[in-house]
Symmetry: C2
Subunit: 209 residues, 2 copies
């Protein structure tokens, strides 16, 4: 789990405000996660997430002191874009990014919880499907849902996936799962805070692609 553990998310402060700079830094290490799935088929997904991060970073860089927290960005964009908001700017990018992050989070959580298909205990399809259903399915039309169903067959064996997450080093599966557990603590808290912020600010949209 070297890949993720080397770049833990910061602990959330009491006021649950997510600092933009450290959030961007931590998420920038996540796109290689999709390389761990092993097939070039996942390249467009990685590209979509990289695109989200790039969008948010561009807004942040335009005025780092003003956009110190993610909430400041949403507030400023709401003010700036009027009726176009929230389907615009970093607000839109983070709206989608948080769903990709939730996919990753639920997938990893399901793995550390030992959820598996008893008939195919070496596969991670059930874990991917659970993550997809909780994080994304609702926002995808029938066609993208169909593409997901086909793509999940390209998911690697559990052992290969865990090994890839450990940067190919041969660590024991239990050690790797332990590191994932540690990683999930702050990661889950940060992403939950983002979800809460979207709910509170009425910034979430449920259109489908």
């Amino acid at each position: 789990m070297a890949l993720l553990m080397e770049h833990q998310f910061k602990q959330l402060p009491a006021d649950k405000q997510v600092e933009t700079r450290s959030f961007l830094e931590s998420v920038s290490y996540l796109p290689p996660f999709f390389d761990c799935l092993g097939s070039t088929v996942f390249a467009p997904i990685k590209a979509d997430i990289v695109g989200n991060i790039t969008t948010i970073k561009a807004v942040f860089d335009s005025n780092p002191s003003r956009f110190k927290t993610l909430q400041k960005i949403l507030e400023a964009e709401k003010e700036l874009h009027g009726a176009d908001w929230p389907k615009v700017g970093a607000t839109l990018a983070l709206m989608w990014l948080k769903r990709g992050l939730r996919f990753i989070q639920v997938l990893l959580q399901s793995l550390v919880d030992g959820e598996k298909d008893e008939n195919n205990p070496d596969l991670i399809r059930v874990n991917c499907t659970k993550a997809y259903e909780l994080a994304l399915k609702k926002y995808h039309g029938w066609l993208v849902q169909k593409l997901f169903k086909a793509a999940v067959f390209a998911a690697p064996y559990k052992a290969d996936f865990l090994k890839a997450l450990s940067k190919g080093r041969n660590v024991k599966e239990e050690d790797c799962l332990d590191k994932i557990r540690q990683f999930l603590v702050n990661f889950t808290a940060a992403n939950d805070a983002v979800y809460e912020m979207y709910t509170k600010m009425n910034a979430d949209l449920d259109y489908t692609v």
Copy 2:
């Protein structure tokens, strides 16, 4: 057919050498072709083709006079990269680009030839499938083939596709088809010449993705 007609390919000279500069310029107008298919699902395909063009352009720009024709690029890269060639550089990018171009070519040719599914004469699925089978299927593993099968359902109605190709202007279908016919002459000749060059130089690979 404004989209394509405004940027015809140049007529091929007698020696069938394709000039890099004008080739790059003409192909750079093709990626919007995938927007005409109407769904964001096709964005990764467009991105792949844009990537090919960018790769070739970077090599050309590094020495425009040396890389005056596409063949000069292949020859220089063969010399430069030794055993890695042809799975490298602009040679690899053009290897894939020509397949995307052939997809477009066969699809358009099939439309102007009036090929259709008698049960669904308003759809272009049969034309897309024909183009896919002739241009790409062989280079795709079972998974990408499966994704194609799902994606073809997102293809637009013929009338909407032709209208999109005419940049949304309401031209008569017959006029649009006439323009496509004209466009196909030099386009087909240029792409055929690229295919021939790959065969002659033994530069084509048939690995699957």
